[in-house]
Amino acid sequence: MSVVEAATRPLSPAVGLFARRHAWTGAVVAFFAVLLAWNASQTRNFGAFEIQTMLASTLALAYLAMAQSVVVIGGGIDLSVGALLVLANCLTARFMEGTGFGGSVLVAAGCLAVTALLGALTGLVISVSRIPDIIVTLATSFVWGGAALFVLRTPGGGTSPTFQTLVLGSGNAWWPALLCLLGPLLLVWAPLRRSRRGIAIYALGSSSDAAFLSGVDPLRTKVVAYAFSGLLCGLAGTATTAFTGGGSPQSTIAMTATLNSVAAIVLGGVALSGGIGGLVGPVFAVWCLYLIPNIMLGLGVDPSYGEVVKGVVVVLVVLVGGLLRARRSRTG
């Protein structure tokens, strides 16, 4: 007993802190686990194939939710993520058509550079003009949407099948899609989150005055946040190309994707007021939002109700979460 005590005592405050700071993400993961178990119980021989389907079909939206999270954590909101996804989708679909695997990878890399640059430009415009994020990104969403029509006038284009398999996996191989998702999380976000620049993003969203007084450069921070967001939008567009095997410049895709990204981050524990949240919670939220209509289908309910339930879940979760947060801040 004394050994246990000795082992747990110094740890427990740290564990408690960790649990409190990541309570929301934990809750979303638990919610996802419940939904996944439910869905699995509905399907005969639930296994790797179903997981692969889920990961592959949600990869684009997961990237997009991450893109939206970075901006919202930094105290902004990006209404152009969907349009940038469509632009990236059209760019990759047009230039990957007829290329082999190497060519497709090259095109993808070029596209990511373009979207990251467009994101940085958006951040620069917002910072310099002092026009609110919501207005600038609304405007850029029209620009990106129009540019997508120049790149690809009608749905079409293509990509290398090897590239598709490598990004999404196929059959029972579910891990390529997961690796693609973890890539930017581990390679870009994890180091950024621990760097001064990453902390500055959180600080700017939490209190721009305090951040400024602490020596944060608001312009540079905004540009970094939007550039990373643009990179993730590019990944989302590329994932869409891989998933659909082509590109489509329809503006409704952009709008739906943007709204879904906002729903996902709200459900995933990112505060719209900025400064709070992470990128993992929103990804799990995307998976939850994917599973809900599937479960409805399994129950034999008209899938249209799935959208209704999705909306109700978002409102309920945010309501309950908000109440819990308010109570905690009052007691402690």
Partner: protein
Amino acid sequence: MTAAEPILRVRGVAKRYGPVEALRSVDLAVARGEIHALVGANGAGKSTLVRILAGVVRPDAGEVEVAGRPVRFRSPAHARASGLAPVFQDPAFAPDLTVADNLRLTATDPGAFRRRLSGLGLDGIELREPAGSLPLPLLRMLDLARVLAHDPALLLLDEITAALPADYAERVFEAIRDARGEGRSVLFISHRLLEVQEVCDRVTVLRDGRNVDTLTIADGAEGSAGTLAERSERRIVAAMLGERAALAVSEPRRVAPPPRAEPGEPALELRGVSDGGRVRDVSLTLAKGEVLGITGLEGQGQDELFAILAGDRRASGGEIVVDGGRLVARHPYEAIRNGLVLVPSDRWQALLPQRSVRENLAVAQYNAPGRWGWINAERERRQVAGAIARLSIDTRAQAQAKRLSGGNQQKVAIGRWLVGGFTTLLCFDPTRGIDVGTKHQIYDLFRELAAAGKSVLMFTSELREVPLACDRVLVLYDGRIVAGLQAAEADEATLLSAAHGLADTLTESR
């Protein structure tokens, strides 16, 4: 660079915000190893000067020299790199970040921070807690420790002791003295003259955006009676007031409050009202037909007290009695229904800027529409016209309230309750930023209302208007009422001393 060279020299610094001249021309020199106080009444320009020195705003004119070298700060980071480190009333901590992350933001060495914290008598602080979950006084201490950890040449402390518990304040003073011992300098801004005299070497007094006096505490003012402290205090107060004190005497008193034989029945009574923080055990009685003034420095609990009375904030203790009945207002609506109406200091809180004068005046009446919820347009027109005539509101720009002048906006904000009806009018700084003529119209109105049996409770930060408008005045300090005077006896110097929490005044009046 010699040792006699001051660490900071400010020459002719000026700053204007739109039409407001916050700083006209300030000269200031802070020597090495000196604790230099900056004092002045509200709006004298202290905060603007600190914001300039901290690199938050840029001056329009003038020069700043640090250790003999001219500088133009581009950002707070730049000022800090030059050795000037500020601690503001609102600590510069991002609330959602942990304390540790906040330290990384400023590239503060955690070891040095810990050492400075123990120097302040604070050990065992959990740095992984979000900064926003810590109480404000503690956060301010952490801010001070962080600033000290950077070994600044000059500390800028802006009202650091405001709303700070006494034991913390004592530790702050110790830390300041230690910093002086290490050869650092401190620019110490405070409303509390007692602590200024206790801690500081020299004092510079600002008035209306200029430095009007600098004195060494140890010298006091020569050639006058009393102890050293009393002499320097008198000189500081005189410098803060300047010619305004003389003006108040010379200006003919247009409104002479009629001597009141006996106060009427109480309209409003507060018994030990507190809110668990800023308002502490406030008791007062406001009679029908009385104009009662409350005054105090910024942040002494007046905002909270008025919010409680207006039903916008809950009291945690004590009771409010209106017309003999206890009132627990959970919402401004309930306070208004009981005749307690507020005219806030910020007119935009009260007015609908895009709507017409008529709608702005009538809006309080929409609470009590006629039968079937219809608004009686004829009655509304009549009452609005009555209020406009009574307040002589200039209606040339009546299509939109935002186009009115400040004085007319204030009249509309008050006139709304003449239309809506009330028993006690709560006015927060009703003449802030208003021209003299309109001010006197507002005083006249208060007198008229009082003569008609209504009561007025007004907070004012302008001490000289107390004898012009009020029957009695109470002084609020640190959430308590520390003095109560008849308006006729309330000269500006007495009020100012009481408002600064000076001991002798407190004992006299208690």
